[in-house]
């Protein structure tokens, strides 16, 4: 996936939500996106995944190349991402591969693998409507993985999860990258980005203002805030081990 001088505005908006963004996302990598509310992180995901302007309307200028049509997207709110047509988790997860018309056995195999990846096999026979937000979000991610996407974009995918569930989800992303998927994940959670992403894009006012490894571009994890407030010179350590390594004893 590559963008060159991409600018995008939603229909009826006076100012573009994405401004002159150029970047390339490689297969087999996890790229993080972070920024304040309204900075354009969600819009970047929609444009990078090819969903805007195709489904949202609006106008895109600049160049965009997406080298795959197998693209998955996950939002923070699981209930908007259910088909509403399935009464079991298995049927929900199988919906995607089934819509590609793949043989029954292959659909069920993809479905089983995705349920295992997210650790929700035990929910396979439950009604999605009876699940908690956290369980549902894992089912939603499994539903998208069952499509075996080559480009996966996730918008704050752990907002509904408890810490253990969020850790498990973020630990899965590098594993997906190892299998060849290009992963693009937006979240305000810089702690988890610092641990998961090889590269982080920081956005402000629709532009990508910083782009590089987490240690070079992030400065607002709690540990970084502690270090800054305690007089540590930049670049600030992002996690506990890095901070301890910077202290002269």
């Amino acid at each position: 996936m590559a963008l060159d001088a991409a600018t995008f505005a939603y229909p009826g908006a006076r100012t573009p939500a994405l401004l002159d963004v150029s970047l390339a996302i490689e297969a087999g990598t996890v790229t993080g996106v972070t920024g304040a509310v309204g900075a354009g992180t969600s819009t970047l995901l929609l444009v990078a995944g090819g969903f805007a302007p195709r489904l949202t309307g609006g106008a895109l200028s600049g160049r965009r190349d997406i080298a795959t049509n197998r693209i998955g997207i996950v939002f923070a709110t699981p209930w908007t991402q259910l088909t509403g047509l399935a009464t079991t988790v298995r049927a929900e997860v199988a919906f995607g591969p089934a819509s590609l018309g793949r043989p029954r056995g292959s659909v069920l195999a993809a479905c089983g693998a995705a349920l295992r990846d997210l650790g929700v096999e035990h929910l396979a026979d439950r009604d999605p409507a009876s699940l908690s937000g956290g369980e549902l979000q894992r089912v939603v991610v499994a539903s998208v993985l069952a499509m075996e996407p080559e480009l996966l974009v996730l918008d704050d995918p752990a907002a509904e999860l408890d810490p253990a569930g969020a850790d498990a989800l973020y630990a899965l992303l590098p594993e997906l990258a190892r299998r060849g998927t290009a992963v693009l994940v937006a979240t305000p959670d810089s702690e988890r980005l610092a641990r998961t992403a090889e590269r982080v894009l920081v956005m402000e006012g629709g532009r990508v203002t910083r782009d590089g490894p987490p240690a070079a571009v992030l400065d607002d994890t709690d540990v970084a805030r502690i270090a800054r407030a305690a007089g540590c010179p930049a670049p600030y350590p992002l996690d506990v081990a890095a901070l301890v390594a910077r202290v002269v004893r």
Binding site: L55, G72, T77, Q81, S99, R104, V107
Partner: protein, 253 residues
């Protein structure tokens, strides 16, 4: 409750097209007959249909709530404005043929409501999707039909959330009719606006999952269409055709 009610009756286990065919058959029968007694026989048949699925108790209430205002209106209009002969009900002259017409129209309404609420309660949306998919019905049509059938249960949870939230902000439910009317705004507006705010995400999510893909979908567990199912649907067809033949030919001959 308007929507699917899980159960183990023969109708629940039947091919999803069968309860739909029976409901459609009852609707057509209600219009095939025109004597008040005959219409109410169809109503009784619809009630029997509901009872055989074990959902009579569940569908009676919404059917009554939906039918009552129309019944009252029909009775007043036809009873007061209908022709002679009249009977005196206290000071009011009530038209006998008008009353009969009200019975016919009211009965048709009752039969239709009972029949389709029963079909809604017995046909699992998921099985209907599978059945239609197995028959090669395009997904767009499947989605439109099934999402319409399931709209009430889907909105229920959200309505509950909004009612809870507004009560916690001091909104009092109940009270005088005017107070109830005033309370509607804080309940209905967020229902619509928050649903609209999510439509984009929903469309995207469905698109990603192949909802807009062309080509035939794989049916994973297509419901069995048994000989009994086909026999029942054939019987419904024969009965409806016979009733209309009687109505148009029998009456004329």
């Amino acid at each position: 409750m308007i929507g699917y009610v899980p159960g183990a009756s023969a109708l629940h286990r039947a091919h999803p097209y069968t309860p739909l065919a029976i409901a459609t058959g009852l609707l057509l029968m209600a219009f095939a007959v025109s004597a008040p007694g005959a219409v109410w026989v169809v109503v009784a048949a619809a009630a029997l249909f509901a009872a055989s699925a074990g959902v009579l108790g569940t569908v009676l209430r919404p059917a009554a709530i939906l039918a009552l205002p129309t019944w009252v209106l029909l009775t007043i209009l036809h009873g007061l404005l209908g022709g002679a002969p009249h009977v005196m009900l206290g000071p009011v002259a009530f038209s006998v043929p008008g009353g009969e017409r009200a019975l016919v129209f009211g009965g048709r309404l009752a039969a239709i409501l009972l029949a389709f609420l029963t079909a809604l309660a017995t046909v699992s949306p998921a099985r209907l999707v599978e059945a239609m998919t197995a028959r090669g019905v395009p997904f767009g049509r499947v989605y439109l039909l099934v999402s319409t059938l399931t709209v009430v249960p889907r909105l229920r949870a959200r309505v509950r959330q909004i009612v809870d939230a507004q009560q916690c902000r001091g909104l009092r439910l109940g009270g005088s009719p005017l107070a109830r009317l005033r309370a509607l705004g804080p309940l209905v507006v967020p229902l619509v606006l928050s649903a609209l705010a999510e439509v984009d995400e929903q469309a995207l999510a469905l698109d990603v999952r192949g909802g807009t893909a062309r080509g035939r979908r794989t049916a994973l567990e297509p419901p069995e269409d048994s000989r009994a199912d086909r026999a029942v649907r054939l019987a419904v067809l024969v009965a409806v055709v016979a009733a209309y033949a009687w109505k148009f030919l029998g009456a004329g001959g």
